[in-house]
């Protein structure tokens, strides 16, 4: 399967790139966003204030992803 991963703002700068494409995870069963975070970033810890969107809707790291999903990681929003 193929998952598009996006990073925004300070997290993008911290990770050093704006996106990853995670292909054929080799997992049997479902992949959670927490597992995807480790695969994509190579980091074992998840930042305290990390926000997560699955296909442009807020979700949490326990959610599972499927082929074709777009997952975004970003810090608290500061618009307006």
């Amino acid at each position: 399967m193929s998952i598009k991963v996006l990073y925004f703002a300070s997290l993008r700068e911290d990770i050093g790139r704006a996106s990853d494409l995670i292909e054929d995870t080799g997992q049997t069963g479902s992949l959670t966003i927490a597992q995807l975070w480790i695969k994509a970033t190579g980091r074992n810890t998840i930042p305290d204030e990390l926000l997560v969107a699955l296909n442009q809707e807020y979700t949490d790291i326990q959610a599972s992803v499927k082929d074709g999903d777009e997952v975004a990681f970003f810090p608290p929003v500061t618009g307006g």
């Binding site: 703002a9 969107a53 618009g79 307006g80």
Partner: protein, 145 residues
């Protein structure tokens, strides 16, 4: 009706309201209240002088989230029209960042919905501000007040 616009150059918040009202409410005489809010870039934040700012966003999600909060406002209050304009890219002090305007028959709905939309936008729409300080350093704004 609604109009949601993300713009990457300076915009005139009054002209936007006027044009939107002319386009969408021309000939209508059933609206009695318009509440609006304009957020403008200040040259100070958290005790520091800010010379400019860059606003980043997540385009596909921005549009979805803004539509979602407008849906929510329409569900909660009897509002007729909504206009949201948000700036992205580089912004200078005194330039408008955001405009939210709501038209309704009676004033309570317009006031309530306008404020709700601004708060929801600030807490849910995926925008991020990076400030360029007068001292030459750069920092991401970490929290929304």
């Amino acid at each position: 009706m609604r109009l949601i616009k993300i713009v990457d150059t300076g915009f005139d918040p009054w002209k936007y309201q006027q044009d939107y009202q002319q386009q969408s409410m021309s000939g209508k005489t059933d609206f009695g209240a318009t509440a609006s809010f304009i957020g403008t870039m200040r040259d100070f934040n958290e005790g520091d002088d800010v010379s400019s700012m860059v606003l980043e966003h997540y385009p596909a999600m921005t549009e979805k989230q803004l539509n979602r909060i407008v849906d929510e406002a329409c569900h909660k209050w009897a509002i007729q029209n909504t206009l949201i304009v948000h700036r992205v890219g580089e912004i200078l002090p005194a330039e408008p960042i955001v405009l939210v305007a709501v038209w309704s028959a009676h004033r309570a709905a317009a006031f309530d919905a306008c404020r709700f939309l601004m708060e929801a936008l600030k807490h849910q729409a995926p925008f991020w501000k990076k400030e360029n300080l007068r001292t030459g350093t750069t920092r991401w704004v970490e929290k929304n007040t």
